[in-house]
């Protein structure tokens, strides 16, 4: 499919800090493109440059064929940008905020009413229309932010950590809305701190220290992970980690909900792991090879020693 968003060699530095260091990628029409990476990786800076609110030091970017750097104003109506920090007016009500943004984008009143009603219903925000934005919970603020961002029916949507601080139920509503947008042919770029959300993206860009380390679908990323991932369920995961980490062939041990994820160089290591635990009399349920989660990939691909592995 056609690339809607194109970036090449984008770079931005703040004094001595290189926030984005020559990043390039393409996003296709109707794709959900995820940006993941640790704090300070450059996700916000990258999205700001793509949204045309921050000028890059070097590089080029275009959306829908319009040069973002040279003509950001020609782009405004086609795109929508939701900043990481809540950008709405806390002393205005939900309705007043929506109306304000709709007016700035010259949305016809009928369309505004129809879209606002639909979006607010989809995010269970209907009862709060007359509440001041400052009196909304963190999650509701984010949902209002999304509503304002979508009220002018943009073709490309840039969302910077939209679900941070949002409860799981609301996050599900959020994603339902995003999927609905994708089915309407809207292209989405979204940065997220939740790696389970990264799983929901069509493609992912893994950023680290301003570099684009990987840019692939979750399945492709998974295939990159060398060796195998073994899940050991246990009621005393810390002891399990202590026992397994020093073993030969073990690259990393990650604590997960009800046990640990052990990254080993080969699936054949499983019996060795079980033996080590039995030897120390540590209780465990089972050790089995599982599909790595994005979090596992993250640790494996970006964690210490990852350069050698990749």
């Amino acid at each position: 499919m056609d690339a809607v968003v194109r970036a090449s060699g984008l770079a931005k530095r703040f004094g001595g800090v290189v926030a984005v260091d020559g990043i390039g990628f393409e996003v296709s029409h109707g794709e959900i493109f995820g940006l993941v990476g640790p704090d300070g990786a450059g996700k916000t800076t990258l999205l700001r440059m793509l949204a045309g609110v921050m000028a890059p030091d070097a590089g080029a970017a275009s959306i829908d064929g319009i040069d973002v750097v040279a003509a950001p104003e020609r782009l405004r109506e086609r795109i929508s940008y939701m900043p990481q920090r809540f950008g709405l007016y806390e002393d205005l009500t939900v309705d007043e905020n929506i109306r304000f943004y709709a007016e700035l984008f010259e949305v016809p009143p009928a369309q505004r009413r129809e879209r606002a009603a639909r979006l607010l219903a989809a995010s269970a925000m209907e009862p709060f229309r007359r509440r001041l934005a400052g009196q909304l919970s963190g999650g509701m603020k984010q949902k209002l932010g999304l509503t304002c961002a979508l009220v002018h029916a943009p073709r490309v949507v840039l969302l910077d950590e939209p679900t941070t601080g949002v409860d799981p139920l609301s996050r599900r509503e959020f994603w339902r809305i995003l999927y609905a947008l994708r089915s309407e042919g809207v292209t989405l770029l979204i940065s997220t701190a939740y790696l389970d959300e990264a799983e929901r993206c069509d493609r992912l860009a893994l950023l680290q220290d301003g570099h684009l380390r990987f840019c692939e679908s979750p399945a492709e990323l998974r295939a990159r992970m060398p060796g195998a991932l073994v899940e050991v369920a246990s009621t005393s995961p810390r002891e399990v980690r202590a026992a397994l980490a020093p073993l030969a062939g073990v690259r990393s041990v990650l604590l997960v909900g009800d046990g640990v994820h052990v990254h080993v160089d080969n699936a054949a290591r499983v019996p060795q792991l079980e033996a080590a635990l039995s030897e120390r009399a540590i209780a465990f349920d089972a050790a089995r090879v599982v599909m790595p989660t994005i979090e596992d990939l993250f640790v494996a691909l970006l964690g210490p020693g990852a350069q050698a592995a990749a």
Partner: protein, 377 residues
């Protein structure tokens, strides 16, 4: 420029001002407070100035003139001196602060040339009250006879200086000799600058501080739409404040108003454009609400209270300071206000100060329109 976006911004700004108690107080209470404070507090009127007289003519005519001074509440004749040499002593000892000398040929000169000269020697240690005393003395004399003029002399010690202080024409426009009448028209300038620049100095800085600027920058709004949308509500508030001040001046303090309201409206609008643009410029530059409001305060209240001539007459300032006042935008508006209130001047008579205001308004609005960049750093 899209009217729809301008309207959206103006409406939003009004709502925010309405919901912010501090801004609301600034917009509505400050004019009232300033009017009362300056109307009552700053009273430069002097009363019962002790006067020594030296009547070298000793005629019925000269005595009648001196009685006029006695009748005025501004003066009190305390001592009739015998010799010119006594004047210095009387002043140095503080027995009087004004000495009136009627020359021996006073009546004769008036009869012959229809112009008489009366010497008024003022203790000028306090410049301001000296100026006022001189002005009042002139008023008294003018009331006595239009043909008699006073030559005022400043004195700060021995020997008596040659005539230095030229007769003030100011009292002429303020016959009832109320310094309040002289000051109150200028208070309008102070209030508008204070409120206008303060409120606008917050508008852009607030967006930066609260994090709403990033989203605003990503919308199609243009810098010009933002400027007009943000200043329009404060322009209306400014006119409202001017109305409040005017009502106070006319109804409460009973200051005479001899000019036309349209003259006032036109010039007040110009002045508002100047102060609002200035506040906006500061807001765009400083980006923090506290910082911006302090700079705005520094740019308005300080120069206006000291250098605009609203309370302290410019023509009595030292020459270098007088030169500086030409750069103070408020000077022109204060000149206009006083002329409109007290003299009833129209736009034509005020062409010069009005043009100066127009120049300031254009320059500052232009700078303000260019100052804002739709980028974050």
């Amino acid at each position: 420029m899209k009217l729809r976006r301008v309207r959206a911004i103006a409406l939003k700004e009004l709502l925010q001002t309405w919901r912010d108690p501090r801004s609301l107080m600034m917009a509505l209470l400050v004019p009232v407070m300033q009017m009362l404070l300056l109307g009552y507090g700053v009273n430069l009127d002097i009363q019962h100035v002790p006067v020594c007289t030296l009547d070298e003519e000793g005629s019925f005519f000269s005595q009648a003139l001196l009685k006029r001074f006695q009748a005025s509440r501004y003066f009190e004749l305390v001592e009739a001196l015998k010799r010119p040499g006594d004047i210095a002593g009387a002043m140095d000892q503080g027995r009087c602060r004004l000495a009136l000398v009627v020359p021996a040929d006073f009546s004769r000169t008036i009869a012959q040339t229809s112009h008489g000269t009366l010497q008024a020697i003022v203790d000028a240690t306090d410049d301001n009250s000296a100026a006022l005393a001189t002005a009042y003395a002139n008023a008294v004399i003018a009331g006595f006879s239009a043909n008699v003029q006073a030559v005022a002399m400043q004195r700060q010690g021995l020997p008596v200086q040659p005539p230095a202080l030229v007769v003030q024409s100011r009292v002429w426009f303020n016959e009832d000799l109320e310094s309040r009448n002289f000051i109150i028209p200028g208070v309008v300038a102070l209030v508008l600058a204070l409120v206008g620049a303060q409120l606008t100095s917050l508008t852009i800085a607030r967006e930066w501080e609260r994090g709403t600027m990033e989203l605003l920058v990503s919308t199609p709004v243009t810098p010009m739409e933002l400027l007009v949308g943000k200043l329009a509500p404060y322009f209306v508030i400014g006119l409202l404040d001017a109305g409040i001040c005017l009502a106070f001046a006319l109804v409460w303090f009973e200051v005479p108003f001899r000019g036309a309201f349209t003259t006032l409206l036109v010039t007040t609008s110009l002045f508002l454009v100047v102060v609002l643009s200035m506040g906006y410029l500061v807001s765009v530059t400083i980006r923090s609400q506290v910082g911006a409001s302090q700079i705005a305060l520094l740019l308005t209240v300080m120069p206006i209270s000291l250098l605009s001539g609203y309370a302290f007459p410019i023509d009595q300032m030292p020459a270098p300071i007088q030169a500086i006042t030409y750069a103070i935008y408020a000077r022109y508006y204060v000149t206009i206000l006083k002329a409109v209130f007290l003299k009833g001047s129209g736009l034509a008579a005020l062409a010069l100060p009005v043009l100066a205001l127009v120049a300031y308004a254009i320059a500052l609005a232009w700078l303000a329109a260019r100052a804002f960049r739709k980028r974050i750093e």
